[in-house]
């Protein structure tokens, strides 16, 4: 049984194929849902009776917990499946895992997987709604959405803003979701980092490539600083973390040279002293904890809309059916 089409379609795989109006509606719905998390009793009956599986083939703390809070605050029944200790590590294929879950009659799957395309692969094979919680280096749409919401909260609008994504764009699903979302909402987008960490033909995505962090800080209204994974140094993409910090790190001194107030985002978890210095992460420009708060609201909005909710009735939905 395929559920009826919703405002977002059956699944949320990425921001590349969403319309600007759909993205704005998710952000508006998230705005409506934010208030639930501020209540003493943080629960509304929006998804009562819905069964959701959080299927995490890669370790994740922040994203998984954020999804789980969003699901529970909307009264869904949730099950977490982690790759370690599950049949996945016993050689079961992705398609068999999906079919087995489906046979238990679930409504939604939130999937995190190390392979690009895994979320789409699953979505094409099961009738449940599928939400991509990060697939390889492809997309991490809810992270992109919560970044958009955070920028909008602090700057009023996305349109016309100059946003620079700094760091390991090559391996980053966060970067791709940000690029699509920001471009669709009318921002100018740049990427900055060593050329070894930039994907081929990155400019064809519609972004400019700034080779020096000083140029990025000079240009940008917003910096979204990506995590530099330790493995990248071991694989030789950068000679050392010290050198990376020295030439690409976002420091207080560099920010002081900015011609305007710069908003600093980071998807976490941070490597303090590598891609971002502590006095920036904890300083007045940083909106990193707002991102985390907004993450729950954005995920509630996505769950609500994929379950068939309409953006215009989100306010009423909080009161229950």
């Amino acid at each position: 049984m395929t559920p009826p089409p919703t405002f977002l379609g059956k699944d949320l795989i990425g921001l590349e194929h969403l319309q600007a109006e759909q993205i704005r509606a998710i952000l508006d719905t998230a705005e409506t849902f934010k208030e639930i998390s501020e209540r003493p009793i943080k629960k509304v009956p929006v998804l009562r009776g819905k069964t959701i599986v959080n299927l995490f083939f890669e370790p994740s703390t922040r994203t998984r917990i954020s999804f789980e809070f969003a699901e529970k605050r909307l009264s869904a029944d949730t099950v977490n499946v982690a790759a370690t200790g599950s049949s996945v590590t016993k050689g079961e294929t992705l398609v068999d895992t999906a079919r087995n879950l489906e046979a238990m009659r679930i409504d939604m799957v939130v999937i995190r997987h190390s392979a690009s395309g895994a979320a789409r692969f699953l979505a094409e094979r099961i009738p449940s709604n599928v939400i991509n919680a990060g697939d390889g280096r492809h997309e991490h749409p809810t992270q992109g959405l919560l970044d958009l919401l955070t920028i909008r909260d602090h700057r009023g609008a996305i349109e016309g803003l100059k946003v620079c994504i700094v760091g390991d764009v090559l391996h980053s699903r966060v970067a791709r979701s940000n690029i699509w979302g920001l471009l669709k909402l009318g921002a100018e987008v740049a990427v900055c980092g060593p050329a070894t960490l930039m994907p081929a033909a990155v400019e064809t995505l519609g972004v400019r490539f700034l080779r020096r962090i000083e140029d990025a800080i000079e240009w940008a209204d917003v910096l979204n600083v990506l995590r530099l994974q330790l493995e990248r140094m071991h694989a030789g993409y950068v000679p050392s973390l010290r050198e990376y910090n020295r030439f690409f790190g976002v420091s207080k001194e560099r920010l002081a040279a900015a011609p305007r107030d710069v908003l600093v985002l980071h998807p976490g978890p941070m490597n303090r002293g590598v891609e971002i210095d502590s006095d920036v992460a904890d300083g007045p420009c940083s909106v990193i904890l707002d991102q985390v708060t907004n993450g729950v609201a954005v995920r509630m909005a996505v769950l609500y809309l994929l379950a068939g909710g309409r953006p215009e009735t989100a306010e009423a939905a909080k009161a229950g059916p």
Binding site: A115, F121, D135, G136
Partner: protein, 419 residues
């Protein structure tokens, strides 16, 4: 009747006696006991020759066997195919070569020629017993599936194989440049978040092997060329007299990396589908003869293996039953080359590159014939393939040019169903 080996292209009868071509000409009398194939409206040509197929036996019989692969071959108009040695165990000694040869003869269908390994166990370390393998029936050597990454070993292979008159077929890939890659490096890989394989991974090793062929005087055959630069390098080497032949595949001159869109694992192949510029360059190089052969790199995989996330699925696609249709649709129908030249690239060219008997209908040659209806349009239906596998990116495509019948050694080995 088209016989590119003799520049013959006019209406004629072909008489096969005792498994060989007896005569070619108009109004040949038909012996009373002869079986006749009415080829009116069709093209009669030498049976097609594919110097690059994976038959998966021994070790991968759930994907293909020598018998099913040879049957798929005749269904595609091929009368001769060359089986790559990267099986399990690999074909790296005379006994293994004998096994492939015997299994091919037992199966009937197309003639199956074994290709031996360059290195023992395909490990890239020690030269395999090339002389003994050739004596047992191997027609070439290759470590296909992987490159001979050690330039010193490649030099030895090219030099040593000269004594036995066989070419060294090279899968050109610098592993340090392709590592972790699953598709072409470019706009599409960036959008899909897949690790790309740059053209340079192929170009650098083509250049290396051309220099080594020049150094040794050995016969080099460059497999599945996919890049514009690669075709330029080979063209230049031929001009200065290097003993090199090369092949292009139907998928590389018909598809680009856009075919991967949607993470379609049936378009995952190594070397990968490239940019439009490269695709056009490969088509042009087949047309002008820089690439002597069209080869399929027929690489069967079980459906389970392709039913995975893109990174986890294996490289490879099958091509024996679509090669002629794809080639006619993308080269002949687009007027890049004439039918006679296409048949050259699919029979005479590859037969000469590997020193095989086919590719000609001169009197006395083996009675290996393909009957082709050049005007027939048909829709690819992978479920009806004779191959044991279904991993084709062309399923559901409409193609022009179809095999009507295939004759091997004077006996009808395949006849298309009506309609």
């Amino acid at each position: 009747m088209i016989d590119p080996s003799r520049a013959f292209d006019e209406p004629a009868d072909v008489l096969l006696v005792g498994g060989r071509v007896e005569a070619v000409g108009r109004g040949l009398g038909t012996p009373d006991d002869a079986e006749t194939l009415d080829a009116s409206g069709c093209v009669v040509c030498p049976g097609l020759v594919d110097v690059h197929v994976h038959l998966r036996e021994p070790g991968g019989e759930h994907r293909e066997t020598i018998a099913t692969g040879a049957l798929a071959a005749v269904a595609g108009g091929f009368t001769t195919i060359c089986a790559m040695p990267n099986t399990d165990p690999p074909i790296d000694d005379p006994a293994a070569v004998g096994f492939v040869l015997a299994a091919g003869m037992r199966a009937g269908h197309a003639r199956v020629h074994p290709v031996g390994a360059v290195s023992v166990g395909l490990a890239g370390e020690r030269l395999a017993p090339v002389g003994e393998m050739v004596e047992a029936g191997a027609v070439a050597i290759t470590d296909d599936g992987r490159p001979v990454w050690d330039a010193g070993l490649m030099r030895l292979a090219l030099a040593y194989s000269r004594s036995f008159g066989v070419p060294v077929a090279s899968h050109c890939e610098v592993l340090e440049l392709s590592r972790g890659g699953s598709m072409n490096e470019g706009v599409v890989s960036t959008r899909l978040g897949l690790t790309g394989i740059p053209n340079a991974a192929e170009d650098v090793m083509i250049a290396r092997d051309l220099f080594l062929a020049e150094l040794t005087g050995g016969r080099l055959h460059v497999q599945h060329v996919t890049t514009r630069r690669g075709t330029q390098l080979i063209r230049a080497a031929k001009e200065r007299g290097v003993a090199v032949t090369a092949e292009g595949t139907p998928h590389h001159f018909s598809l680009t990396d856009e075919a991967v869109e949607g993470y379609r694992t049936h378009a995952k192949v190594n070397p990968p589908l490239r940019s439009e510029e490269d695709r056009a360059a490969v088509a042009a190089a087949v047309a002008d003869g820089t690439l002597d052969c069209i080869a399929t790199d027929h690489a069967p995989h079980h459906y389970d293996e392709k039913e995975q996330a893109f990174d986890d699925a294996p490289f490879g696609l099958i091509g024996l039953e679509t090669a002629l249709g794809v080639s006619m649709t993308y080269l002949v129908a687009k007027k890049l080359l004439g039918l006679s030249d296409l048949i050259h690239r699919m029979s005479t060219g590859p037969a000469r590159a590997f020193g095989l008997g086919g590719g000609t209908l001169a009197p006395g040659a083996a009675g290996d014939v393909a009957l082709i209806d050049p005007a027939a349009t048909w829709t690819v239906d992978a479920r009806r393939f004779r191959s044991r596998s279904r991993n084709t990116p062309f399923d559901g495509w409409q193609l022009t040019g179809r095999v009507v019948a295939t004759v091997v050694g004077g006996a009808v080995a395949f006849r298309a169903e009506e309609g």
